[in-house]
């Protein structure tokens, strides 16, 4: 069976590879901004890979390119070895801000994708969506409009809308940003449950180390502009994880490793600021 391994690969799950991706933004009246330079990364099939980096380091640009909303100036994006050309339903993105359509009920939002794809019947789609909604405790809210839900509930509904598509890769761009701490922790647990049950390939983007550590199989640390992946850290904390994991020795070790890498980045920013102040000082004189 070992040499037959290739055929065993579950092709419903995807492996996301970015090779030497460079993206430069040119806006009239401003110096060209290199958001990503020669950025390479791999999100292995069925893994929960977390990309962590300081804000403004090009994380969202990377997410947009992976999802196909934006195109790299050079470099390649591959899903299961095939190049990505645009947005498609094999890569579903969950955004920073809620993108549930406010004019559709939770259920209508959730079955929109399958209805568009048309490969399963409406009843089947609803059944599938219902199972997911149940998992995140929203079954009673299926006929409510998004505005009637709390922020955390909206995020959960959005996870369902994405998961119901069985995407090859799910890209989550700081999805829990702006939620209060308790809701956030709850959401992380929901996400882990959903990850355990579906085993989907997930690329989760965040600027919070604790969130990254709690969720990840693997953490990719991103450098500042121009962004590129600097360090990879394997998170070998046992699953299922709960808050107890936060007090283990291994957690502290990995956290220190990630923070060292990140602080080097932070220090670079401060160094830049210092230089800027020096410049300002000279001008004043």
């Amino acid at each position: 069976m070992a040499n037959n391994g290739k055929k065993q690969i579950d092709n419903t799950k995807g492996e996301l590879v970015m090779e030497n991706v460079t993206r430069v933004f040119r806006i009239p009246g401003a110096p060209a901004c290199t958001a990503l330079r020669e950025c390479s990364l791999t999100v292995p099939r069925g893994s929960l890979t977390v990309l962590v980096g300081p804000s403004g380091c090009g994380k969202s640009t990377l997410a947009n390119i992976a999802a196909g909303y934006d195109h790299p100036d050079s470099g390649k994006v591959l899903i299961n070895g095939r190049p990505v050309t645009g947005s498609g339903r094999d890569r579903i993105m969950v955004f920073q801000e809620t993108a549930l359509w406010p004019w559709m009920t939770v259920m209508k939002n959730a079955v929109f994708g399958p209805a568009m794809a048309g490969h399963i019947s409406k009843a089947e789609a609803e059944k599938k969506a219902m199972a997911l909604l149940k998992k995140v405790g929203l079954e009673e809210f299926k006929d409510k409009y998004p505005a009637q839900l709390s922020g955390g509930m909206q995020r959960r509904a959005e996870l369902c809308r994405a998961l119901v598509m069985d995407p090859k890769v799910m890209i989550l761009d700081e999805p829990f940003r702006g939620l209060d701490v308790m809701t956030r922790e709850l959401m992380q647990e929901y996400l882990l449950t959903l990850y355990r049950d579906t085993g989907l390939t997930m690329l989760f983007i965040t600027s919070e180390i604790e969130e990254a550590l709690f969720l990840a199989d693997r953490i990719l640390v991103m450098t500042n502009l121009p962004g590129t992946v600097k360090t990879e850290v394997d998170v070998d904390l046992p699953r299922p994880r709960d808050f107890h994991v936060l007090s283990t020795e291994r957690y502290r070790q990995i956290k220190a490793q990630v923070m060292d890498s990140l602080y080097e980045e932070g220090a670079k920013i401060f160094a830049k600021l210092d230089r800027a102040e020096d410049l300002l000082g000279t001008c004043a004189n």
Binding site: A67, G68, Y69, S87, G88, R89, R91, I92, M93, F95, E97, T98, A99, L100, W101, P102, W103, M104, F112, G113, M116, A117, Y145, P146, A147, Q148, R161, M165
Partner: protein, 304 residues
């Protein structure tokens, strides 16, 4: 029938409607009817609204009748107008008892409605198309922006020249203003839709056509209905202007004609009638909008 009796009946109707609304509110907040009525009658909002009306009527009476100020002395007073309006035998031939009064109302309403419906039927699709397709936007927007600032009355001569008879000309002029308001508000509505709604739809595999019906149209709906309310108002004011120039019936004609014939109370009757019809038509548009946008209503009132 005696005008005083009619006045009493009208007041009774207003009071009955008010009482009914209060009853609904009392049921909603689970308080007694009497309590709710007392609360409303003594509420600051209601008292201020009442004060506003009374101040207006008193100022009118004061300037026109009591003091009879130089420029105002030729105007009719509020009571005079009210009695003329309710009189079975009006001095100037227009009151709620005369056939002519309703003929004018029906003509004006018919024209405004026709223009409004046409403007909506053409303006909403135009706005949606401009917002949905970049190509169509480039193609049509500069033209729309060039034609839009032309005041409606400037179109009257051409409209009369080209269209058969005065009637289509008046409707055309009315339509034009409402059309541009509707189209532009619809376009603004599409542009106001959050980009993430489009992205979400695209990654879930929505076709361009589904995008139009499931994202663009509902997303633009709040702006469309704001536009429709403005266009309803715009339709009425350009209609009256059109009627003053080229019509034999209608409230605009009535007002202008009464001016020529020195029948001043009729001017006021025409104006107040326009005010009431305009208000009712806006309320109708608003309530249709509310029905269509239940998702938004609940946003405002919390968990309904």
């Amino acid at each position: 029938m005696n005008p005083y009796i009619v006045l009493g009946l009208l007041l009774a109707v207003v009071l009955a409607v008010g009482a009914w609304q209060q009853k609904k509110k009392a049921l909603l907040f689970e308080v007694s009817w009497g309590h709710q009525v007392r609360k409303t009658l003594t509420s600051k909002g209601f008292l201020l609204q009442l004060a506003g009306f009374i101040t207006f009527v008193l100022l009118w009476e004061l300037t026109v009748k009591t003091l009879s100020l130089p420029w105002f002395s030729r105007l009719p007073g509020p009571w005079e107008c009210l009695m003329e309006w309710l009189s079975p035998d009006p001095d100037y031939g227009i009151s709620i008892y005369t056939q002519d009064y309703y003929t004018h109302i029906i003509y004006s309403t018919y024209r405004a409605t026709t223009a409004f419906v046409l403007a909506t039927a053409l303006g909403v699709p135009l706005g949606l198309l401009m917002g949905w397709s970049r190509k169509f936007y480039d193609y049509s927007f500069p033209l729309v922006e060039l034609i839009r600032p032309i005041p409606p009355l400037a179109w009257v001569p051409l409209a009369i020249l080209v269209l058969p008879g005065d009637e289509p000309a008046v409707i055309f002029v009315t339509f034009l203003v409402a059309f541009f308001v509707t189209a532009l508000n619809t376009l603004l509505g599409v542009e106001s839709i959050d980009e993430s709604y489009f992205r979400a739809a695209r990654c879930l595999g929505a076709s361009k056509r589904r995008l139009l019906f499931d994202v663009v149209l509902p997303g633009a709906m709040p702006f469309i209905f704001t536009g429709l309310q403005i266009s309803m108002g715009a339709a009425w004011f350009s209609l009256v202007a059109g009627e003053m120039i080229a019509a034999q019936y209608g409230l605009g004609f009535l007002i202008w004609d009464s001016y020529s014939l020195i029948q001043y109370p009729v001017i006021v009757i025409g104006m107040v009638t326009l005010g009431i019809i305009g208000w009712v038509s806006s309320a109708v548009v608003r309530s249709i909008g509310r029905k269509l946008m239940a998702w938004r209503e609940r946003e405002l009132y919390g968990n309904a």
